[in-house]
Homo-oligomer: 347 residues x 2
Amino acid sequence: MGGDGGVEMTLPACVEALRQDPDLGLMLIGNERCMQDGLKHVPEALLARISIIHTKDAVFDDDKPAQVLRKGRQSSMFKAIELVKDGKAQAMVSAGNTGALLLTGRHLLKTLPGIRKPAIVATLPGTSRQTFLLDVGANPECDGPQLFEFAVMGMVLAEALEGQPVSVGLLNIGAELHKGTAAVQEAAALMMDSPALDYAGFIEANELFEGAADVVVCDGFVGNVIIKSSAGVANVVKKLLRPKQEDMPPVSMQVDVNLPCISLASNDCSEEAISLRLSSQINPQRFNGASLLGLQGSVIKSHGNATSEGFFYAIQQAIHEVDNAIPQLIADRVANIMQGRPAPVLG
Amino acid sequence: MGGDGGVEMTLPACVEALRQDPDLGLMLIGNERCMQDGLKHVPEALLARISIIHTKDAVFDDDKPAQVLRKGRQSSMFKAIELVKDGKAQAMVSAGNTGALLLTGRHLLKTLPGIRKPAIVATLPGTSRQTFLLDVGANPECDGPQLFEFAVMGMVLAEALEGQPVSVGLLNIGAELHKGTAAVQEAAALMMDSPALDYAGFIEANELFEGAADVVVCDGFVGNVIIKSSAGVANVVKKLLRPKQEDMPPVSMQVDVNLPCISLASNDCSEEAISLRLSSQINPQRFNGASLLGLQGSVIKSHGNATSEGFFYAIQQAIHEVDNAIPQLIADRVANIMQGRPAPVLG
């Protein structure tokens, strides 16, 4: 049902994803009537790989946790996660209410053994390589052992997607060992002690875009603030780059979903070319699609106000997770890594 | 002594500040011998407004709090704050160790009545107007009443500098009332109840650059992460804008401190002009100079790796604070505002 953007946002992304990946099949869960218009002109060959599962209700952004569970399987979100639980779908993608997604995900899929709570992981663009950042919103307050769990999960995901060993850093407000909160100090001790991690030490927020570590962990409040302030700066830049077109919608909305490949190596220095380079590099849409790591199944959160282009990338993220069997991989590694470590004190 | 940059960084900024403000006098505190070279070619007329106070020691970035106090008045930082305490200087500016500056500032100047701890306030650029953000690093963990104190101090500073009433928001990871940590929830209740504040509600990090509120409060960990991640994105943008000059130092270092005035209204769309517009708008140097609010005296923190241009702006910030008698103004307003409010529970 597509969060703020509705099916007008999700359906074009679904169609494009089917077009680019002949092995993909999509189950669209939601109000059938709402979807009919958007699917009217889709070629038969693509429609054949779409199945629609009707639900009369959806979860809304202002729904409280109690309401979400009351709606139960009447909601598109609940039904979609249930399909993952039942093995009928390999992953689910939602642009809906994050709190509801976490609650329903944990309720239906459960967390992996050794993981107390799921974390949301986002990928940040960089000048040299991307960085995996978690948690970016699931857990506003975390203790040290929880940050350590994030480190393990992030490492497994990044190694699977990058195909090579990765380093893991801990976000802090300084490089000195005594800096940071009690939770950060505790996490640092755990990470330093773990032979399973290639620990990169404290990472400051400005180093996130310089490839200082492949994976960086922080609590969900801090992570959320990082991705939102970065997007805020990116939007300021876009406005400055288009001084005469202030009344137009943001650049990201003008990028055709059929043209996601923009050459970064271009030497074209026209304003248009610069703007395109910037859009492709710092456009938050391109990095949309955040995994809910730690669940026994793949759940991908798209930003609530993602564009079709952004939702397309969220679907790609789901495909990567499935191709790499991420939840199983995390389960295996966590079991190994956690063995050598004292059980966390439950807060 | 200029933190990472040394006197090679601070002295050109001092000379430029004296050149632009005929009413300014500067006391340079530090190792006299280190300063001699940098002052060799300064015109007599400017030198007449400089006095040098020799100290044989300085605080270093890796000094622990115990070392800082042991050095005592032998250090340039201690001596400079002491001059403020004794009324011999009206403000002090330092690019040194933040922890030492806070410790020495509290030790010598004391906090204002009603304020438990000082906070560091930074100004953020925006597309329409600037935003005052605090705390950006003094207090990594804060309770609700402390965030409320930040709100009052930030409001007084912003109203004095802007010359008009300002709104105050609370940084959170969502707009919904139930979002955020326990401290944020508690602060929201206090801010909502206070008739002295024009409370703007929860502000998400992406809205910081859109002028959603004039003042935004958060704990020092989160605030520090906001300014550093914003600077990180700005640096990525600069690298993308100069694809053929990757080996050159960052743009901010090429801006001559004699030419700080760049027209933002320019319609010139050459890459050079765009780059200059961006640099002046999102260049962290221009927003360097963070007040330590809540002390009985004006102390301004410059970023440890600020350029001369950045340090120049930190001196400007000190001048604004003195011109507006900020510490006295905060003392007066805090006394009034805190009266109607139950005493905070000390954690």
